[in-house]
Symmetry: D2
Subunit: 439 residues, 4 copies
């Protein structure tokens, strides 16, 4: 079904390969549920804004994905009758796949007090059991065409792990009681620590470079094909911008100076009344921030987070710099290891970048915060959407959005890679989005 | 605190009187909770539209009412320190009492996944326990000034019993799974029964009449003072209009003929796309209706329900009649017993009116459906709002709303009386509102 | 066509009667145009808000009224072919008569740069010429059935004279150049004059009274039938509230005290940012007001004008009083002469009430400012809308509006009478609406 | 003031150069007014939507530009007092230059019935006279720093010539009378002519190419710097897509097939109810189109016009092709002459492309219709906004818009060049925007 979704496509898998995939499936499904252990049933239900979804919906939708795109075709291939877990779940838990059929409207997801949380977990159990049956058949060489789709399903579930966290954070932030998802040791390293060294910029030479996914491992269709691009000489900051630096931008009147802003950004500032990043709250003469560990003081040396593209762009202009293009970012990240502060750390908040000496190249390109780029989210030259329903996965969103790179503290580590292109509208702030400067 | 709220005000109560009030308190509080027995925790949380509130909010707000207007003043009277159950509940569960302090915004009530359902029930237990302490002091003659407020609190809780039911109905109706609050025996009496006899109109003579609450028992401030009004001769239908009759209005193009509608009503028809009462769903060539027992066929002989004032007005015009004024309604209801199909029946749906022979006066004036009147909700001559914060209870809503009379299948029986004035905007449809014709 | 529209209906008229009507027609049509003499073509075109209409539209619509409801039926009666002045004007200049056919949408009236002003005046000439032909036939006894409709047409044109003035005022107020419709002698009598004496209240006794139009002269259908109503004893202010008094309300924090306001009114204050009447502009530490003579200082002894019902209601509450019902107003006005500062004075602004000695009853009931009443605009008992298309004139607006009484400085004098019921939504401020207190 | 705005900057001009510029000034100013000769005063006033401006406003704003950015600095340089034509025009006719001061709000431009059309023409005369005085000083070597700004002012006025035409077209299209700006010979060449030959695609080889403005003549800041870009091999259609081809897209269900659309585009289709290009009107079973010559039949061989980016993108997908990037477009246009059907032809409508034999490269790259590209409007590498207030001209709009290339039948010929980047939001349809396919 999915063409070009990684190296495994279409070829029968060895028993070891299947076993590896089955183990990853179990681990990823379990990690999703581990994120919810402190939630009460009430917390699973509410949709705090149209862009967010209830936790329950994330849990069910990722299961629907496997049921619809893997289990049902497998049954067809066996010429066996297929009975979905519930006749209406296809309608309730389809996100946006027009070709699959009618859907419950996105802004209405929060109306669904039923199925209950318990029933949704049963749905997950049901799908997991059916997947376990499938592994055997796969090891016997059947259903080779489904391998690539299962791979997509795993990465899809990881995307929803991140969204689940950002959506819960948004939900809890609406509550004057300021509930915390995680308690225990405070993640506020850096509150009283020394200010970081000033940003250094690492130079990169001009040249004709190749970017995009070149095969070897999984990638989404929007990362392909690998292609040449000419990049002018540029310099990239050695670390993301910090809260302390952002406070300077604010102190310099950043939110009151239209000349720093794109026209649409200035409109947003005025209509939304922005005067600080999302989740910052003024408390007397200083600022606090709401985190998944609750409300606490701003840590000046942490990367600034939950800013829109407009804020990132304005702050870069104020700093006499600009945002990097996604090509520049990828060129700079090419030699870096894909490691950093990801969701598995349990920190669930950006951490100060360790830059103890003059930087030898950009640090912390991965994890902590998604980095807004100056690039609109558009198809690469020669882009082909996946065939079939999964063709709706990425391509149809290629207008009105900006690219972010590098993953965040809410992204699972194994979900990230150098060529990964995330995308959100320029006004979005509820993702863990931050700023890296370029020149 | 409350002036004029029934006969008990300001006078110390006998031990019997206090015991009677305590018993009523316990019964009313228990009845509220009995309405929720089939709900799951998820069902308590969601707000399906800005006009509705989550079940959890109803449970907490009614407790906040007693805590704020009874328990805290009682503590002050004792010169005892007062600790509210939770320091933020005053903010979260104040509805609209500006004079009491800041409030969580109404359309945000559905964002509160915490406090949990369990914590809200603890809050209720806490308030109930404190009230039990108070009864003793009241029997000893203390706090006589609080009696009237407690009385208000009981009627207030009954109002929220009705809203809880209409709000759950609205919530469940949003869910494609069509959950039911009540299962078991179907309440669809009248689906296949014989059509009712045509409506008879009972005549009433012109005259100077007195209307409004004249003392004796509790009444809200908006029912006073009792006053004279001149009523022309009129005739009133012997029963509410039925679904069958309303289907005739629909079949006659009622929703497509602007000449039948008030100008604002016609706007609403077009903007909202109305073509039937709320909760009706077309299924092929016939109509089904969503009830608290789930989806079922329309019963032609049941009173039509969940229509707006605009629909009631247009349908009356189509029928060559009109809606009664609230004065006409009260005059006609004066001699009727306040009994009918109320919430206690557990039916939770209107029932066909029993009119087996030519009517000797209007039937079913109480219960089944609230009856829209042709009267705007305005103060009676000489109206005085209650003193203090409870002055915000009724008076400030006296614009933009129409009066409804008689109570519905969701109203507790002991909450109703002949002079009772309910009020909603003319476009509201989620209350159990129906039609009685006049000429 | 029009039933019950004045005494003349259906009966042939004497030559004198026809001549009188023809003379009135000419005078009214000329007065409309006299209001426009200082306008430039550009001023005729623009619609400054959906509730207002362009001057050009008023000029054309009033002509369309005669063409459609008088000239076309007359042609039909003669069995003569009828050619309208322009085949599309029926579409463009029908206001809201659904039964007459499709219409250009109200909020789009300002899109019509064509027909030009010149063409609209030609349209008027065309209709006037055809009317002149008709008078002869009427004097010969023909078309007796049209007399009542012509009478309606005359009053209809007078209503549009008032709207033309209020709409031009609203339009000019949007322009930072602050254009004036009238120049020359300033109308600001009362700016520096002595404050008026405090308001006196005149008492009226309780009793069963008759109100509404009782025949004799023209009246709209909504003023009938004359009927009995019981009025409690009340007292009415001897003059409208002044700007000076309203400034005291403002100084007392009137716009910042929710307890003074109806709930919908308080919403309006906050959403609209009201802090003074419409057309008031703060200039340093004092207030100016935009009038049809341009911008000038507030005159403290002039009646306050351009307030909404909500403001009138809140200010009355602040003053320890209330607004009168329309029944009280009519009872109080019964013995007063219908005279005052009307449009013919050319003053086009309210004038201070002359109350030189203790009042012997309310003054200035007519002219200056429309007086908001506490009554919703609803049908009188036994109300019958006119037959035919003119039945849409008044009846279908009987929801969501409040009654105003007495006419204003923009109303033609001969248009006013004691039983006249004007109506606007409670938030409307662009009519010359003011406040008279009652108790 | 303007840095880098063409070759003339900062250097004193010879008398011949000044004379040439003065002649161009006169010609451009006169051409603006020639576009208005058939307008009536009423037509100059109205704003048909927030994106459009009244004709009067265009006439005044272009004059304000010269007054503010040229005449006032010239007076300062002379140390002479400067009096603007009217003290409020700076407020009324500033478009969006935040750094220049407060402005009348854009959506309120249509409220300004004053200044009259006559006064606006006087304003133009006044500015023109002052410019004539300036030419002498410039020939004497003074004000060399203003030359570049004057050049911008000329191109600015040409941009408003185009907007004036598109805004009048939009305004007249709102009027059921369907007024025409131009009468006389019909521009509907191609209605009954033979269908054009099928589109041919011309191939272009991959390579590292240079794009952007390289000096020599005027260009806007957003066209610079000239820079290298790697372009993959591609093929470009030899002509714009025609109405006939677009009708095939429509007949194939183009507006009802979500799989052809970007997600935002499909939303727009549903919310706006699009089912054909703007200005198309269904008449029975065929389509008519509103043009500046009035309503007429669709001409199948004319380029399709007034489509949004979303429609262009969906139609290209349906055709098995895609839109070109702006780099591809510029590479393909490099060798073409900048000539075509521009505003000077007076045709004011696209014309069928003459492709009489197999194409030897793309035709009609210039004029007729702006061609949507697949490129978001973003800064070129190393982009520098002009210094000072004119820095707001282009840079701050670099988000949320797509690039269009080549000019249209409403663009003045001398305004166009190969590197010109026009930009509009992807939903915009009131510009003369069309489709050229690429592969």
């Amino acid at each position: 079904m999915v063409q070009g979704a990684g190296s495994a496509r279409g070829a029968a898998q060895s028993a070891e390969q299947v076993a590896e995939m089955a183990a990853r499936y179990e681990a990823i499904r379990a990690f999703t549920e581990s994120l919810c252990v402190t939630l009460q049933p009430e917390d699973y239900v509410v949709q705090s804004m149209p862009d967010a979804s209830p936790v329950k919906w994330h849990l069910a939708h990722t299961s629907w994905f496997f049921e619809t795109f893997v289990l049902e075709p497998a049954a067809r291939a066996r010429r066996a009758p297929f009975t979905s877990f519930h006749p209406r779940y296809g309608y309730l838990f389809n996100s946006y796949y027009v070709s699959v059929g009618a859907r419950h409207e996105r802004p209405q997801r929060g109306m669904l007090t039923r199925p209950s949380v318990e029933e949704v977990y049963e749905y997950r159990r049901h799908v997991d059991a059916a997947m376990r049956t499938l592994w055997g058949e796969l090891a016997d060489g059947a259903h080779a065409d489904l391998i690539a789709t299962i791979e997509v399903g795993l990465h899809h579930e990881q995307q929803h792990q991140e969204l689940l966290l950002t959506d819960v954070k948004h939900l809890f932030a609406q509550n004057p009681l300021r509930p915390a998802l995680r308690t225990g040791a405070s993640p506020a390293r850096g509150i009283s620590g020394p200010e970081l060294r000033p940003t250094d910029f690492s130079p990169f030479e001009e040249g004709l470079r190749s970017v995009g996914h070149g095969g070897g491992g999984f990638a989404f269709d929007n990362e392909s094909p690998r292609h040449r691009t000419f990049v002018e000489a540029f310099a990239l900051a050695d670390r993301p911008m910090t809260n302390g630096e952002y406070l300077s931008f604010m102190a310099a009147g950043g939110y009151r100076r239209p000349e720093l802003w794109l026209s649409e950004g200035w409109d947003a500032v005025q209509k939304q009344g922005w005067e600080a990043p999302l989740y910052w709250e003024r408390e007397g003469d200083h600022w606090q921030v709401f985190t998944l560990h609750g409300l606490r003081e701003i840590a000046p040396s942490e990367p600034v987070c939950h800013v829109s593209f407009y804020e990132a762009d304005a702050c870069a202009r104020w700093a006499g710099a600009r945002l990097p293009t996604e090509m520049e970012w990828e060129v700079a990240a090419e030699s870096a290891l894909v490691q950093g502060n990801f969701a598995e750390s349990g920190w669930l908040n950006p951490r100060p970048t360790q830059v103890d000496e003059p930087a030898r190249g950009p640090r912390a390109m991965f994890g902590d915060v998604w980095e807004w780029t100056a690039s609109a989210y558009l198809p690469y030259p020669g882009y082909q959407a996946w065939a079939g329903s999964l063709g709706e996965y990425n391509g149809k969103f290629m207008s009105g959005q900006m690219v972010l790179r590098g993953g965040s503290c809410f992204t699972p580590a194994s979900h990230m890679r150098t060529t990964y292109r995330n995308f959100f509208p320029p006004s979005a702030r509820w993702q863990a989005s931050g700023i890296r400067l370029a020149r």
